[in-house]
């Protein structure tokens, strides 16, 4: 790392103090996100010129694009004040190197960690305290195991320095261009941190690659970028661990995920997100699958105030496959608008989408999906299944699938059902000696099983515990 970047991470108070002063004046001079800010970020990271240029181009696009506001029933983003975004970056830059104390976290978060049974050291890591150290260890372990085969797994900022050619080719050029949407553009301008995974040809990484605590380690982790390149005949399962509730002064998370699945390769991307309830989670995630490649998205969306997230896959090569398994849970004050998008752009492509949602205490879940079958994508087949479970009459559950079919030799099916938790099921379980809460919890566990069985056991257990926590006290 360069000395410029080191000085940011230096705990020397004077250096940090000076930096802060500089930044303060810069940010206060102009409201909103300015070119100066973007240059500063790039400079801090000692980035090559091309990356700075991409950031600046993204900034231009960000400034030109309107806020997404006209989708039917979309979450209310009126509180997302773009003018205030930059000031939100500042506190996190200050905390680089670990300035926050566990005790400073809100009680709600501390409580959740305790209930999850997470030990103190991990709590510190999860809360952003000293996470850098912890994450380095995670990376080291990975590298030792696979580096001989040429697998690369590292921090995205580091990848820009050390694997420049690969990053230059793929970074926001093919899968998620900044022009995709306003928040992708924002992300392109001020992204920072994230994971880089490169799997060479004919290589199977037979253990899930996990980026668990790392996201908090970076100052602007809320704009993290994940880039996965799986070369021909390779296989990898990447797990993004924001499965713990995060606390941050930020209230906007706008990440970017790009996955390239080459011929015959197989990538699974799993994530269980449980953002704090003051977070707007506006992500863009996209995969491009080449011939006979398989892409699998497994996602659980638990936290956040509002989420707009539609992982998408472009089935570009003949015989490519895409599977989505997603579960969303919305409680009080939450609006989880999530779904999946699949573009069938080649013959013999297949996709399946299985979406489950649970809404309670006035929360809203929405499945918003798009299946596009291009002219010429013969023998494409897709099936979409959405199931919603509702706990009470204050909650809302919507389903808004869109299907665009331009090819006649296809098989397209969509089904959705909505229902309350079955009185009979509850009664049956009660008659077997379970109390009402346990019975309902068991029904929910059964309902989300398709998701949990796709996750490694520790994530599945955690997912279940998170749902239990969410439901605590809300049943009866």
């Amino acid at each position: 790392m360069s000395s410029d970047q080191d000085h940011l991470q230096d705990t020397d108070t004077e250096a940090r103090f000076e930096f802060k002063k500089e930044e303060n004046s810069a940010f206060e001079a102009e409201k909103g996100l300015t070119e100066e800010t973007v240059r500063l970020i790039s400079e801090d990271k000692d980035e090559p010129e091309w990356m700075l240029e991409r950031r600046l181009r993204a900034l231009e696009q960000f400034q030109e694009m309107p806020m997404p506001t006209d989708w039917p029933g979309q979450p209310d983003l009126s509180e997302v004040d773009i003018e205030e975004i930059v000031p939100y970056i500042r506190p996190d830059i200050e905390t680089r190197g670990g300035a926050e104390e566990w005790e400073d976290l809100p009680e709600e978060i501390q409580d959740t960690f305790d209930k999850l049974g997470i030990p103190e050291a991990e709590k510190n890591a999860l809360s952003g305290v000293g996470a850098q150290y912890e994450s380095e260890i995670v990376y080291q372990n990975m590298q030792e195991r696979w580096e001989e085969q040429g697998v690369i797994f590292c921090d995205m900022d580091k990848a820009v320095q050390e694997h420049e050619e690969i990053v230059k080719e793929y970074f926001m050029t093919k899968a998620v261009p900044p022009s995709d949407n306003k928040f992708a553009a924002l992300h392109g301008a001020i992204w920072s941190g994230g994971s880089f995974v490169y799997v060479p040809e004919d290589t199977s990484v037979d253990m899930p690659v996990q980026a668990y605590f790392r996201m908090n380690s970076e100052g602007m982790g809320q704009f993290e970028h994940t880039l996965i390149v799986a070369e021909e005949n390779s296989e990898v399962h990447y797990i993004e661990g924001c499965s713990a509730p995060k606390y941050s002064a930020f209230n906007l998370h706008s990440g970017g995920v790009e996955v390239f699945v080459k011929d015959n390769a197989h990538v699974q991307y799993s994530t269980v997100q449980n953002w704090s309830k003051n977070t707007y989670n506006l992500n863009t995630k996209r995969a491009i699958a080449e011939e006979n490649a398989t892409m699998e998205w497994v996602s659980g969306s638990m936290g956040s105030k509002a989420t707009m997230l539609y992982p998408s896959t472009i089935l570009k090569g003949p015989g490519a496959t895409d599977n989505h398994i997603t579960i969303a849970m919305a409680g009080e004050g939450q609006d989880i608008d999530t779904g999946a998008k699949v573009y069938h752009n080649a013959p013999d492509t297949k996709s399946t989408i299985e979406s489950k949602s649970i809404s309670k205490d006035g929360g809203r879940t929405n499945y918003r999906g798009l299946v596009h079958i291009a002219d010429g994508a013969e023998n494409a087949s897709t099936s979409v299944e959405c199931d919603a479970l509702m706990f009470d009459n204050e909650s809302t559950s919507d389903t808004m699938p869109y299907m665009e079919i331009q090819e006649n030799k296809v098989d397209v099916a969509h089904e959705a059902t909505v229902g309350k938790i079955g009185d009979e099921d509850v009664f049956y379980l009660q008659s077997r000696g379970l109390d009402d809460d346990d019975a309902k919890q068991m029904i929910v566990a059964g309902f989300i099983e398709p998701l949990t069985e796709e996750l490694p056991i520790e994530y599945a257990v955690e997912m279940n515990r998170l749902i239990e926590l969410e439901m605590e006290g809300s049943l009866g």
């Binding site: 006209d70 989708w71 039917p72 029933g73 539609y310 998008k341 918003r368 798009l370 596009h372 002219d375 919603a388 509702m390 706990f391 009470d392 009459n393 909650s395 809302t396 559950s397 919507d398 389903t399 808004m400 699938p401 869109y402 299907m403 665009e404 079919i405 331009q406 090819e407 006649n408 030799k409 296809v410 098989d411 397209v412 099916a413 969509h414 089904e415 959705a416 059902t417 909505v418 229902g419 309350k420 938790i421």
Partner: protein, 404 residues
């Protein structure tokens, strides 16, 4: 987004139309207000994908060249049922003025969008069906043959408590009509307590016609409004069929069928709002597309917070016969009450290759086999059509299209 058509429309024209129907002041005022509102109104909603992609472009249509408010030549047959009144507007206004004033515009907001307001301001053709309390009016028929470049049709159906009505409407185009045409039809149905209205419409307009229609019903306590919507003709159809289930135990069924060929475009919407307890809805639509035809389907099942014990089902199936056709669908569920059983499904596919092979192997030629499978595809929808005549007509039109 206002279309230029307004430039050619004047209050004087509206007054003239109103005068010819011998209308009361309130209706003239309603028309004038609708005319004045045109400046501020948007085109009807069309669904856009999270792309965003507009699926039906109404904005670029040149309404100015299509609309000629004072020319409304048409032939109309009305078949009345015993005990019920099936009247032209001028007759109806004379006989049931108060009733019309009470219900006109109560179901379809005259200013819900640009094209609806245009219809309200300019309608010159239409029918009022009044079914008094307890009367069963079967086989009411309204046939409209359009003989002018533009025709604005307005139908109001009032079924009082415990009344029932079966109404068949059919729109066709007369001969010797050249160039593009514009047909607009608004239908309002009020079904009182325990009343049931079944409204079947078969649209077979000439294929250079732009067709805009809104059909909407209010079903009160234990009332039902059932719709059958067949679309065969027109170049572009934008059709909305809607029911608000306002009363406890009310029901609605919306059955749709369309068959598009050449460059026809169908934008079909089925929507139902569950607003009270124990309400039931069933939406079923099947469509076939050939050549470069395109269909856009949006179905909405909206379950309100007070709609306890709701059952709501929706299914839409599209069969594509050609590689150049396109089918877009979005069946939406909006659920605000958890005591609900709701489901929707949509499928798109081609004629089943195995079935085709089976029939070929039994000596049925390719074309005939395809035709039989297309006819077979419509059967589940035709079975839902309780009105024999409409079912026969629809079957015949499908067969006719297949022969061509």
């Amino acid at each position: 987004m206002s279309a230029q058509v307004h430039a050619n429309l004047t209050e004087a024209q509206v007054e003239q139309i109103s005068g010819e129907l011998d209308e009361p002041e309130w209706l003239l005022e309603t028309r004038k207000e609708a005319l004045a509102a045109l400046d501020d109104l948007e085109m009807p909603d069309v669904i856009t994908t999270p792309g965003p992609r507009h699926w039906t472009n109404l904005v670029d249509l040149d309404y100015e060249s299509l609309v000629d408010p004072l020319e409304f030549a048409q032939e109309k047959d009305r078949v009345e049922a015993e005990g019920a009144d099936v009247l032209s507007w001028d007759e109806a206004l004379a006989e049931h003025g108060d009733l019309i004033e009470e219900h006109f515009g109560s179901v379809v907001d005259p200013q819900r969008d640009f094209l609806t307001a245009l219809s309200t301001a300019l309608f010159s053709a239409g029918t009022v069906v009044y079914v008094p309390e307890g009367v069963a009016a079967e086989d009411v028929k309204i046939r409209t043959r359009m003989n002018s470049r533009s025709l604005f049709n307005y139908t109001l159906v009032i079924a009082e408590e415990s009344a029932s009505a079966t109404i068949l409407e059919r729109q066709t185009t007369g001969e010797n009509l050249d160039g593009d045409q514009y047909y607009s039809g608004i239908v309002e149905v009020v079904a009182g307590e325990n009343a049931s209205v079944q409204y079947g419409a078969l649209q077979n307009l000439a294929e250079d016609t732009y067709n805009f229609s809104v059909k909407r019903g209010h079903a009160h306590k234990h009332g039902s409004v059932d719709w059958i919507e067949g679309n065969i003709g027109s170049r572009l159809t934008k059709s909305s069929v809607e029911t608000r289930l306002l009363g406890e135990g009310s029901e609605s069924q919306i059955v749709g069928a369309f068959f598009g060929h050449e460059d026809q475009h169908f934008d079909i919407n089925s929507r139902v709002w569950h607003e009270d307890e124990h309400t039931t809805a069933d939406l079923v639509t099947r469509g076939v597309l050939d050549d470069e035809a395109r269909s856009v389907y949006e179905g909405v099942q909206d379950v309100g917070r007070d709609a306890w014990d709701t059952s709501s089902y929706q299914r839409e199936n599209t069969l594509m016969l050609s590689d150049d056709s396109e089918a877009d669908a979005s069946p939406k569920l909006i659920i605000n009450n958890h005591d609900t059983e709701a489901s929707h499904s949509a499928t798109v596919g081609q004629v089943d290759a195995e079935e085709l092979f089976y029939m070929n192997s039994r000596g049925v030629g390719e074309e005939q086999a395809t035709n039989m499978l297309v006819e077979g595809f419509f059967v589940p929808v035709l079975e839902e059509v309780a009105v024999d005549e409409l079912r026969d007509d629809l079957e015949e039109l499908v067969a006719e299209r297949l022969r061509n």
